[in-house]
């Protein structure tokens, strides 16, 4: 593996608060005096101040075991109000398990979870946090509007049903039966439901799983609009593009541990390099590995795939010294970067025993 866990960890917990203009911090510090005194008069000033001083999420030495499977092993994490954070990792890395514990859906084996200084259950019942769940089912024999109305009745203070339908972009299909909705529409319905309590923290677990490109774009447009208002957002994904495009901060998880934590640029820089493909009959992996600068060699029949920080010199060598032809050099895709950071080898992903709910 080109990136040993050691150096990556230096990013852990080092990320600074987000730089978005509209985030909570700047909003508060720039609150006009008139506004502040109005809040003071309403008796909200102090509470608000103590509220923002708290981390949105604070995880302390979090562990979760399912029998002998260690789904989460010692996660420490603080997410500040206003951050938009991506949980990035392959299936089975422990993203959903961690999210389940943040939401109070399961209890940590050991360790602590605090959401705005409260237990997850307290935060959920106060509407401070809500979630778009990966496998949260919907009832097929309700309409879209009925589903949202049902959930809206559960909160002590709820945004109007029509408003969240509008914001999630599904006002036009309010009367449609859930069973007739596409995957993307159902996902935006879940998003509408999560908006009802106007939560300070919104958690999305693999929100675009199984959506087509268009559905994915519409969904993220809705989220982006919402995030611009300063809500704290944590989303799990295994698409690096999504993390890259929408998060201020990316937390890479692998086998239940945080392996990197930083901005998208920082994380991408950790997996630099390019990939070279060529056709070379009778290629010998060991001798190819001997070429200076080569990090990894894969053979697929007559095709060789070489990862290297200096593909130019590898190409020069191949063309001068061997019969290689059909050379093709590509910047290492985001997917590759992600794989380089989260799995030592591809077969690590997918074959590890994964208990239900430990994704």
């Amino acid at each position: 593996m080109p990136f040993p866990p050691g150096p990556l960890r230096r990013f852990q917990n080092m990320s600074s608060p987000p730089t978005r203009d509209s985030n909570t911090h700047s909003h508060h510090t720039s609150t006009p005096a008139g506004n502040a005194s109005a809040l003071q008069a309403a008796g909200l000033g102090e509470k608000k101040a103590s509220h923002t001083a708290l981390a949105a999420i604070h995880l302390c030495d979090l562990h979760k075991h399912f029998g002998s499977v260690r789904a989460v092993q010692g996660v420490n994490l603080t997410i500040r109000p206003g951050e938009v954070v991506a949980f990035l990792g392959p299936n089975g890395a422990g993203k959903t398990t961690t999210i389940d514990m943040i939401l109070g859906l399961s209890r940590p084996s050991t360790g602590q979870v605090e959401v705005y200084g409260l237990s997850p259950e307290q935060a959920v019942s106060r509407g401070l946090v809500s979630a778009v769940m990966q496998n949260g089912g919907l009832l097929k024999d309700f309409t879209v509007e009925e589903t949202v109305r049902y959930i809206s009745k559960l909160f002590s203070a709820s945004r109007p049903v029509a408003e969240v339908l509008e914001r999630a972009g599904i006002a036009g299909i309010a009367g449609r039966m859930v069973s007739k909705c596409s995957g993307g529409e159902q996902q935006r319905l879940r998003f509408a439901m999560a908006l009802l309590p106007d939560p300070d923290l919104l958690i999305l677990d693999e929100p675009t799983q199984g959506m087509d490109v268009e559905g994915r774009r519409d969904f993220w447009n809705a989220i982006r609009k919402d995030a611009a208002k300063g809500r704290t957002i944590l989303f799990a994904t295994h698409y690096l593009e999504e993390a890259d495009a929408y998060a201020d901060r990316i937390i890479l998880i692998r086998r239940g541990e945080i392996v990197a934590d930083g901005t998208a640029a920082e994380v991408k820089a950790m997996a630099s390099g390019r990939t070279l493909r060529a056709t070379l009959a009778g290629a010998d992996a060991t001798s190819l590995k001997g070429i200076p600068g080569v990090e990894e060699v894969k053979l697929q029949g007559d095709t060789v795939i070489i990862n290297s920080a200096d593909t130019d010199s590898v190409a020069r060598y191949l063309l001068n010294e061997t019969d290689a032809r059909d050379l093709e050099i590509t910047a290492r895709g985001l997917e590759d970067a992600f794989l380089a950071l989260t799995g030592d080898e591809a077969h690590d992903i997918g074959t590890a025993p994964t208990p239900r709910g430990a994704r």
Binding site: S125, R126, G137, L138, L139, D141, L154, D198, G230
Partner: protein, 265 residues
């Protein structure tokens, strides 16, 4: 801008009163159930049709039974059949919603488990009440069933409350077979139970061996008990025993499957 204020200033947040319970939700649940044609057919249409077929037959309808006549006796049986159907499907809904992941969705809302159970119970009771009402209305309209007013009321109440026990059966069968087709299984097994309990054919017409076997089926005790205000006479200890034994079996089974289910998550 108002929503910006709401997210960033975070006004005092509170938990909902009575765990998120509201009658508005019960109304939505009932509407959802009534939208399911299978539920409506099993809980309302079938019992009424059965009553019209068996309860009006002039060969025996006017024969006396206790404080009333055979037609009234059959009307009570059919109301029980419908109400039991209603409660069983209500119970099965809970486990089905768990399997579908809807309960998981609800767990990230302030809805408390107690309030959830209360909502489901009330929904079942509304549906059960409707079944009883529909069958009794059919009885009133046809003028065949005859019994004193207090027996109309007391049998209806017994059926309504007693059938609630079958919510546990629904829960059990729902955990056992969490699929959309569970209604068919419920329809079939309750049909068998109804024959065993003597809801469709009087137990007195069974052979002695069959009658002894029937006394062990789940609807036997309940059926005898809900007819008690009509038939009068002595209470048989086997009725409550049968009822309690099956209640223990169903609740125990549901709890066991529930535990097995939660252990996996």
């Amino acid at each position: 801008m108002t929503s910006t204020q709401a997210t960033t200033t975070s006004p005092e947040r509170s938990t909902p009163p009575i765990g998120g319970f509201s009658l508005g939700i019960v109304r939505l649940e009932v509407r959802r159930l009534l939208r399911n044609h299978r539920t409506v057919i099993f809980t309302m249409v079938t019992p009424v049709i059965f009553f019209l077929i068996f309860g009006l037959n002039s060969a025996y309808a006017d024969r006396r039974v206790g404080h009333g006549n055979v037609s009234a006796f059959i009307m009570v049986s059919m109301a029980l059949y419908g109400a039991v159907m209603a409660n069983t499907s209500g119970g099965a809904m809970v486990s089905l919603e768990r399997a579908l992941g809807w309960s998981r969705q609800l767990r990230v809302t302030p809805l408390s488990p107690t309030a959830y159970i209360a909502i489901k119970m009330l929904t079942s009771m509304v549906l059960g009440f409707t079944s009883v009402l529909v069958v009794y209305a059919a009885g009133l309209v046809t003028h065949k069933p005859s019994m004193p007013l207090f027996v109309w009321i007391s049998t209806a109440l017994c059926v309504w409350v007693g059938s609630l026990l079958f919510a546990a059966f629904g829960l059990f069968i729902g955990y056992l077979l969490p699929s959309e087709n569970v209604m068919q299984v419920i329809g079939f097994s309750l049909m068998l139970f109804s024959f065993g309990g003597g809801l469709f054919i009087p137990l007195s017409q069974y052979s002695p061996a069959l009658r002894r076997a029937a006394a062990f089926t789940p609807l036997y005790g309940l059926n005898q008990l809900v007819h008690y205000p009509l038939t009068g006479g002595g209470l048989d200890w086997t009725w409550p025993t049968n009822l309690l034994a099956w209640l223990v079996i169903f609740v125990g089974g549901a709890v066991w499957l529930f535990r097995r289910d939660t252990a996996r998550v």
